[in-house]
Symmetry: C2
């Protein structure tokens, strides 16, 4: 009797579960249909890129982007929109860089160059010196006695055999980050790095360097991959007499800036906070379309879609335009500080900061139970091209939430084209595909829907 009752109950529960899953599928389809048809992420990105432009922390455009994204979220119907104040570094590039090779035949070869973010400028007369090429820090060690008074040229390419380009970026990125101080340690007077780009091109790709306070701060530039090859060949052929470059970048005093937060309050568990975001700042060379205008407009799209479809989340959803990811992470750090002081619980955070390309996967972090729950939803995403939900994921801006026990996810779009445009003047609106961008927004909104319904 009892067995029969249990069997019936379990049948009933199964059917509830099936019904719930079917309902989830339907809601996810409605989200997809809406965003793929009427989504505004692409037009909002156009605005960010074309009406505002580059949005470096501390710049006037950066400040304008704060106001405009706040306006967008208000117009989308967010229940609350507010700013979180934070101080940000204020680095300015100054005049356009000049860099050239002075060749042994008396001619000159102009290098396509850009100062590394956060780097100091050269003296007003620029730097003229011999250049020493190294392929790695190991090679630098081998030639350290020759470095003094010279310019070090790190010519370490992104490894083309890594199918996931972020792996190659992580690998090669150490020369941009640590190269200047490593060269300073041995008395160099300046640093040139090969741009972090996946393919040969003619654009310098900038990005932040990090000085080690134990050593002098050296002026540092990135040159295009084609120019890196040219320089390397010219050195091999003993064609280079000296190298000259001049930068007038500098770090000014910190200024006030803001994260922008738009909130839809949860109907059942408003004190359980779900965060989704991208970073609103960008490098100054381009429009920051893929990095990370895309993540910003995809995150805001969640509000638009939920409001349009009348989806009222059971938990509170917070869309955050993080400030200063590129050269300080002050916005992400501030967000976590405020979350720590908050009595509410920050259960989940999702970041999109890998470009507005076709979504392929989510990477997730958290407790085993949290990850298990997230991974169990994977089949619901197959129809939308998400092939897997894998271990390990999050993002720079949501990372500081980790000590609070927040489960995290990062959107993993296709990565093949990202480092063609990353931090270069080619990262413009035209490089973004409307369908790819909106498909990313779709799976993000779908994942937030599931977390808001079921918690973690």
């Amino acid at each position: 009797m009892r067995k029969v009752y249990l069997a019936a109950l379990s049948g009933l529960m199964l059917s509830f579960a099936t019904m719930a899953q079917q309902n989830d599928s339907l809601v996810m389809k409605r989200i997809s249909d809406d965003i793929m048809t009427r989504g505004m992420a692409y037009e909002n990105l156009r605005f960010l890129c074309k009406n505002i432009g580059s949005r470096l922390s501390g710049s006037p455009q950066g400040a304008r982007a704060v106001l405009e994204t706040a306006r967008m979220m208000r117009e989308m119907g967010a229940d609350t929109v507010f700013l979180q104040e934070c101080m940000v570094p204020h680095w300015v590039r100054g005049e356009k860089e000049t860099a050239k090779l002075i060749l042994t035949n008396g001619r000159e070869y102009a290098l396509k160059a850009a100062a590394l973010g956060n780097s100091v400028g050269t003296p007003a007369a620029g730097i003229t010196a011999n250049v020493i090429e190294v392929r790695s820090f190991d090679e630098l060690e081998m030639v350290k006695q020759n470095v003094k008074g010279n310019i070090v040229f790190y010519n370490y390419p992104m490894n083309p055999t890594y199918i996931k380009t972020f792996k190659a970026y992580g690998d090669a990125g150490t020369y941009r980050g640590n190269g200047p101080s490593m060269a300073a340690k041995y008395g160099a007077v300046g640093v040139i790095i090969r741009s972090l780009a996946s393919n040969p091109d003619d654009h310098p790709h900038t990005g932040a360097t990090r000085y080690n306070d134990s050593f002098p701060k050296l002026p540092a530039i990135a040159i295009s991959t084609n120019d890196a090859d040219y320089l390397s060949n010219a050195l091999r052929k003993k064609m280079v007499s000296r190298v000259y470059f001049k930068t007038s970048c500098k770090m000014l005093d910190d200024v006030i800036s803001h994260n922008v937060v738009g909130e839809i309050r949860g109907t059942a568990f408003p004190e359980e906070m779900i965060t989704v975001g991208g970073h609103i700042d960008s490098w100054d060379l381009a429009e920051g379309a893929h990095d990370d205008g895309a993540g910003c407009v995809q995150s805001m799209e969640v509000i638009r879609a939920f409001k349009t479809l009348g989806i009222r989340p059971r938990r509170t959803i917070r869309v955050v335009m993080f400030q200063n990811e590129e050269n300080g992470l002050r916005g992400g750090t501030r967000y976590a500080e405020l979350a720590k002081e908050d009595k509410r619980k920050y259960i989940f955070a999702l970041e999109s900061d890998a470009g507005g390309f076709t979504p392929r996967a989510f990477g997730v972090s958290g407790t085993e139970a949290q990850k298990e729950k997230l991974k169990n939803w994977a089949p619901l995403f197959y129809p939308y091209g998400i092939a897997e939900i894998t271990d390990g994921g999050g993002g720079a801006d949501i990372g500081p939430l980790k000590p609070l026990g927040t489960a995290m996810a990062g959107l993993s779009p296709d990565s093949q084209r990202y480092f063609d445009v990353h931090h270069a003047e080619t990262d413009v609106f035209e490089a973004v595909s409307r369908r790819e961008l909106h498909l990313g927004a779709t799976v993000m909104a779908q994942l937030l829907y599931l977390v808001s319904e079921y918690g973690l």
Copy 2:
């Protein structure tokens, strides 16, 4: 005793199998490393696009592409390179089309238009008539009594909610293919179709139409999606007085053309033929970069990589530049005819004709046993981004091999951007990503390696 012997044997076999699989992984990695680093597909595509240009069947560029791809395969070291003669339709666009709305306010609105491939031209004076908009063939039936003497405008958009864009293309494509004859049935004098494009844009997207011989052949043009929206709105607001268009395209007599075949003879089973290809012809409006220069250079890359790496396939691999896929399929048909007459066995064919985008899957067709064998290799491809090997796949050009019992596969790249450029002037070299193209070539070469080693 016997049992022990069997167990030992099966252990030995298992270890052989494991070793074989490990060896396969290593060879596949070598193929990937080579193509991602030194691949020539991208530069070959640049040549096809920039030095030759569009390659419509019967055109001088089409003939030149035959010679140049034959040269490329010879230079790559193919054991044999030869041509397969076939007759192809020779359709010419003639003068650039003009099309405009004559508005009730006396003004005109110029439409961005292109004649549909294979369509007849208008009289020299063009066609001026009223236009009747329909959203579907069902709607056409409803208004059929009003069609006589007028232009029918099929305004059926590609469905943006289909995540796989080829599904939307198949769905909407019937209006381009069958629309003119369906309108002719009811006495129309001309046809306008909304371009088959995934997104709003300002380019007409051409493509073949198919006349039904039971009805008069009507002149037919595609207009850009933005102009389709403009026309639809203008009609709704009663702003349109008449529509005018003029085309001077025509179908000339068939001409001689060729498939180009490059072969690497198999070392163990040379009589077992493996075919891989794309189509060398393209529409005339652009460079045919994604459609299907990409598939051509990816297929040729197999020869380059195998020769570079010293991989000697056990079965014969034939790389085929199919002729006339776009408006006749004469090359694919001829290839199968010759295969039928051939004593050798055509065991497998792989086609790449869905754009040079990041590869996501293979679709496979054949007997259950053939498909099973192909699908069992799926895990070997995961590191290269192939998420699955699914049922149903092949391609237009290899399709005619089906009666010979040939197992087939089609490369399925990401489809989000394809119909932004498909058959339009935007299908140019610059729309192709080097890494995406080379990754497609990589998984194609890897699959051919496995089939050449193990057969089917």
